[in-house]
Amino acid sequence: MESVSFPPLSRVAVSGGTHGNEMTGVYMVRHLQKEKIDKIGSVSVSTVLSNPRAVEICRRYVETDLNRCFTEALLNSPVTDSSPYELRRAQELNAQIGPKGSKEAVDLLIDIHNTTSNMGLCLILYSIDWLTLHILKYLQSKMASVEVRAIQLDIPIAEAYSLESVGKHGFAIEAGPQPNGVVRADIHNLVKEAVDHIFSWLQEFNSGSTFEGGEVEAYTLVKSIDYPRNPVTGEITAAVHSQLQDNDFKLLQRGNPIFMSFSGETVKYDGEDLYPFFVNECAYYEKKIAFHLARKIKLTLPPIKVTD
């Protein structure tokens, strides 16, 4: 396969606290800012605490989910002082590390998140980005005792709603399980190790190394399943079944239990073989999602190197 080249990645942003109660990113960004880290080798680093007001009160958001505010339409919509805080903050962030789609945008944006789901370490990306997938491949080779997975959301960049879509390249690091408001050392150290490897990769890339092509697997979102609800009140009537709980990325097949109702009945899955993830994510109750389902795809990566 022919090699693909990309311009150097010399401006990188690391963000945390996009959701104010996802603590790994909050503490990592605070630590980088305290140590005044603004350059790592050939790469200049900016660190961003995305939603400081939500971080202050240790809530996901103040008025609306910041990580749904980055579509082109919302970034360009007129805002006033009475617009929701996160809408205004998204436009501020876009001006600071974007603008999205322009040549002033940072080369790479890494947004750090946590989930209450047992997803281990995942990179979440829009569309097929060879650069991000090469980073994934590199992480998999360097962190062999840990499963590092990629989740791909097939959404065109203009409609991409989350923060990492502001950079020329971007992905979210999602690490779990970790409760909201808690910082677990094991999760923190995992993410720190991943970020350290990513910066090593960036040095190598910028200095002219060719990264060999190869195959990677990714999970691509197909659909979401809501909790069973009371048709009149809308209240949830079942919990994620204990056989599905904590089994993110284990193949779900027709007949497998997915919910246990409060009155003791088992609800079984009736659909094609797919891989569940974001199983019992706290923030998704209000979005009416008990879990997502994905297809596993194989991608063939071309070799990549920096443009001469």
């Binding site: 605070r30 630590h31 409760p179 408001g181 050392a185 094991d186 150290n189 919990a239 923030a283």
Partner: protein, 313 residues
């Protein structure tokens, strides 16, 4: 310690309340109380009026621990008698209301038993919280529950510390019982945690029914973990946390912590060791709600309490 010859007599435990949502994001209790409010068959027992009750509805609606102040610290004598009406913080008003319905605290009219349902992000498993080592009724109930749950574990945490004890919602009753089940993230309902709490309550209500029928419970011993002290996170001069609970301590609630064992792990990778004078049993390790209370974990020591025989008066 009462002699084995004395059987303690207690009046019938007829009025029993089950509190959920004292912290609005601790979902097992919220879900169970809502379920039983619609259909209370499961909690019915002969001779018992069991009332399920959401203590902090505004916090439950927002799926947050509290609105103005922690309801489970609000039942102080000052708060319960505070004038000021609607100017008072929401939870203080709620405490006064709950005291009216289920109390007054300390009076003969107070409810006999209140079960207060909580979850924790700590790996505490099933825990019962006892507020007094002299409550033989509660000790016997907890002994009954532990035996009924065995071999599954159900431990007893006792907070009788003069400075660290706090004024809980359940303290309105003559016999307050805390149920703390974890680990469960705030805002999340885990099926295994939910079912565990349900089973604890089933056994608790069975005990009360037997007691009210006149069954005599012989003397017994109960192992408890007595609260010693709270340990805060290491902080810098500005009060910011500079270290995390060490991976060797994380999730190790109830396991011995010895002097010299790793306790915290700084953000730049150094280990801070436990400097106490003896072995302690830590719990509430890395509870989300306790960061703001400056508590990374609490230390306890193991004790065996003796409960005298009890019988209905």
């Amino acid at each position: 310690m009462s002699s084995y010859n004395n059987t303690a007599r207690f009046s019938e435990a007829r009025r029993v309340a089950i509190f959920g949502g004292t912290h609005g994001n601790e979902m097992s209790g919220v879900t169970l109380v809502n379920l039983w409010t619609k259909n209370g068959t499961e909690i019915q027992r002969k001779g018992v009026e069991a009332v399920p009750f959401i203590t902090n509805p505004k916090a439950v609606e927002k799926c947050t621990r509290y609105v103005d102040t922690d309801l489970n610290r609000a039942f102080t004598p000052e708060n319960l008698s505070a004038p000021g009406g609607n100017d008072l913080p929401y939870e203080v008003l709620r405490a006064q209301e709950i005291n009216r319905i289920f109390g007054p605290k300390g009076s003969p009219e107070a409810y006999d038993v209140i079960f207060d349902l909580h979850n924790t992000t700590s790996n505490m498993g099933c825990t019962l919280i006892l507020e007094s080592s002299k409550d033989h009724f509660n000790l016997q109930m907890m002994n009954y529950i532990k035996k009924a749950m065995a071999p599954a574990s159900c431990l007893v945490l006792m907070n009788e510390h003069p400075l660290l004890k706090y004024s809980t919602s359940r303290s309105v009753a003559k016999h307050p019982v805390g149920l703390e089940v974890g680990p469960q993230p705030q805002g999340v309902l885990r099926s295994n945690i939910f079912e565990a709490m349900r089973v604890i309550l089933k056994h608790a209500l069975d005990f009360i029914e037997l007691f009210n029928e006149g069954v005599e419970f012989p003397p017994c011993t109960v192992e408890v973990f007595r609260v010693l002290e709270w340990i805060d996170y290491p902080r810098d001069a500005n009060g910011n946390i500079i270290a995390m609970v060490h991976p060797n301590l994380q999730d190790c609630d109830w396991e011995p912590l010895n002097p010299g064992d790793p306790m915290f792990h700084t953000f730049d990778g150094k280990t801070i060791h436990y400097q106490g004078s003896g072995t302690v049993y830590p719990t509430f390790i890395n509870e989300a709600a306790y960061y703001e209370k400056q508590q990374a974990f609490i230390t306890t020591r193991r004790e065996t309490l003796v409960a005298s025989a009890i019988i209905k008066a």
